[in-house]
Amino acid sequence: MKYLFFLLLLGTIVLKAQNYLLIAHKDVPKLSENQIKAIFLKKMKSKEGVHFIPVNLGAKDSTRRAFESKYINVSLQRLKSYWAKQHYLGHRPPHSLKSQKAVIAFITKVAGSIGYIQESALKNSDIQIIFRWSE
C-alpha cells in the first residue's frame, strides 16, 4: 500500500513537471550557464561578434521565475537590489515582452536575441534551442 502511494505520488510529480527552453536567434554562439547569467544581468554584451539582446517575460510570470531560479540563481530580493543599483548607475534590465508568443516572434526576427519559454509554447523550428530544463 505504501509503495503504491509512493508510485502514485511520483507519477503525479512527473506528470506535473514543466519543461522549459532557453531559446536564441540562429546567430547566437554556444554559451555556458555562467555566460547566460551574465547576459541577463547585462554584464556580458557580446561574443564572437554577436551583440546580445536578452528579453524577459513579465515580472510575475511563472516561466520567468523558473528561468531566474535556474540560471540567475540569486534570491529575488538580491536581484531587485542588483537592478536598483543598476538604475542608479543608469542601466536598465532586459526588456520585458508580454507573452511567450511575443518572445518567439522577437527571437525569430532579431539577431542576437535570447529568451526563454515553456516547451509546449514552441511551434516554430526557426530558432535555436540552447538549453532544455525541467521543474
Partner: protein, 327 residues
C-alpha cells in the same frame, strides 16, 4: 536657472510617464529612451549629547541613450534641512542650493570599451560607486571611503570590460581641470589620475585602485593613494573588506585605513551588520570603530536603518537612524 529648468523637465516627464511603475526602478518617458528617478534620505544622529535631525538628500536623476551615446544627469539638495539640539540651544539650517551631483556623457566605442566626459562618481572601492543611503548596507560609509581619494572626478574616464567565465574590468580616471560644482566633494581638486582593476567570478570580487590627485583648498597638497578591496556575497551572507593608504607629499606622511564587514540576511527584509574599522594617521587622529547595524527593508527601495558606532577616539560614539527611499 539650469537646475530649475531640469526639475521642471523631470516633473513634466514623470507626469506623462508610463503607468506600470515599480518603486526603485525609475520611469521611462513615453517610448523615448529616457528614464527618470531619484531618492530621498533623512537621518537622526545622537552624538556627544547632541541630537541632529537632517533631511539630507533630495535628488532627481535622469539617464538615457541613443545608439552609442548615453547620458546621466543628477541634481541634489544636500543637507536641505538640519536641526541640531544640545543641552543649551537649538539650531536650524537650510541649504536651498541645488548641486550637480553627476553630469556626464558616455560613448560606447564597442561593447567592451566606453569613454566618459563630465562629472562622475570616482569608481573606486565598493562604496563610492553607490554612495547614496538607500543603496548602502549601513547609514554611514566606512571611514576608509571618506578619506583616501576624491569622491567626484570631473574630466574624462574610460571603462574596459571583458566577460568570459568571469568579469574583468579596467577603469581609467583623468582630471586635469577645475571641478564642476565642487562644494561638497571631500577634496577640492584640479587634477586626478586614477586606475582601477577588478575581477569578479561567481560570488567573489576583487578590486585594486591606485591614483594621484592635487588638492587646492585650504592647504595645497599632492596625494597618492591605493586601495585593495575584496568581497564575497551569496543570498545569506556578505563578507567584505577594504584596506588602503594615502600619502601626502606636503606632510610626507601616510594614512592607513581599512575595515572588515559581515552582513547576515535574517530573511528578505531584515539584515544585521557588523563592521570593524581602523584608521592610523601620523597626525594622531587614530580611531578604531565598531559599527553594529540593523537594516529593515519592507521593499528593497525603502530602507529603515539603525546603527551604533563605538569609537576609540573620545566623544565620537554615536547612534544613527535613517529612512531612505529610491524611486
Amino acid at each position: 536657472m539650469f537646475h530649475r529648468f531640469f526639475i521642471l523637465l523631470i516633473l513634466c516627464s514623470v507626469l506623462s510617464a508610463e503607468n506600470s511603475y515599480q518603486l526603485g526602478e525609475g520611469v521611462q518617458i513615453d517610448e523615448l529612451p529616457i528614464f527618470v528617478g531619484g531618492y530621498i534620505s533623512t537621518d537622526y544622529r545622537y552624538k556627544d549629547e547632541e541630537h541632529r535631525f537632517r533631511v539630507d538628500d533630495i535628488a532627481l536623476l535622469s539617464y538615457g541613450n541613443y545608439k552609442a551615446l548615453s547620458y546621466m544627469a543628477e541634481v541634489e539638495f544636500k543637507e536641505f534641512y538640519v536641526l541640531t539640539q544640545d543641552k543649551d540651544s537649538t539650531h536650524t539650517e537650510q541649504d536651498n542650493k541645488l548641486y550637480i551631483e553627476r553630469l556626464y556623457l558616455d560613448y560606447a566605442f564597442s561593447d567592451a570599451l566606453i569613454g566618459r566626459a563630465g562629472k562622475y562618481n570616482t569608481p573606486i572601492g565598493f562604496w563610492n560607486l553607490l554612495p547614496i543611503n538607500i543603496l548602502r548596507d549601513t547609514s554611514s560609509n566606512p571611514i576608509t571611503n571618506e578619506l583616501l581619494y576624491p569622491k567626484f572626478t570631473t574630466g574624462f574616464g574610460m571603462e574596459y570590460n571583458s566577460f568570459d567565465e568571469g568579469e574583468f574590468k579596467l577603469d581609467l580616471m583623468l582630471q586635469h581641470n577645475d571641478s564642476l560644482d565642487n562644494d561638497y566633494n571631500n577634496y577640492e581638486i584640479d587634477a586626478h589620475y586614477g586606475l582601477g582593476l577588478s575581477y569578479e567570478y561567481d560570488s567573489y570580487l576583487i578590486k585594486l585602485n591606485t591614483g594621484y590627485f592635487h588638492k587646492i583648498n585650504i592647504l595645497e597638497d599632492d596625494f597618492a593613494y591605493a586601495l585593495l578591496s575584496g568581497k564575497y556575497e551569496d543570498d545569506m551572507y556578505k563578507l567584505m573588506g577594504e584596506f588602503g593608504s594615502q600619502y601626502s607629499k606636503e606632510k610626507s606622511d601616510f594614512i592607513y585605513s581599512g575595515y572588515l564587514q559581515g552582513l547576515y540576511h535574517f530573511n528578505d527584509k531584515h539584515a544585521g551588520i557588523l563592521r570593524l574599522e581602523y584608521l592610523n594617521n601620523t597626525d594622531s587622529i587614530d580611531d578604531n570603530i565598531a559599527v553594529f547595524a540593523y537594516t529593515y527593508r519592507p521593499l528593497y527601495a525603502i530602507a529603515l536603518k539603525s546603527e551604533y558606532q563605538l569609537h576609540s577616539k573620545d566623544d565620537s560614539d554615536q547612534f544613527i537612524f535613517s529612512f531612505s527611499v529610491l524611486f
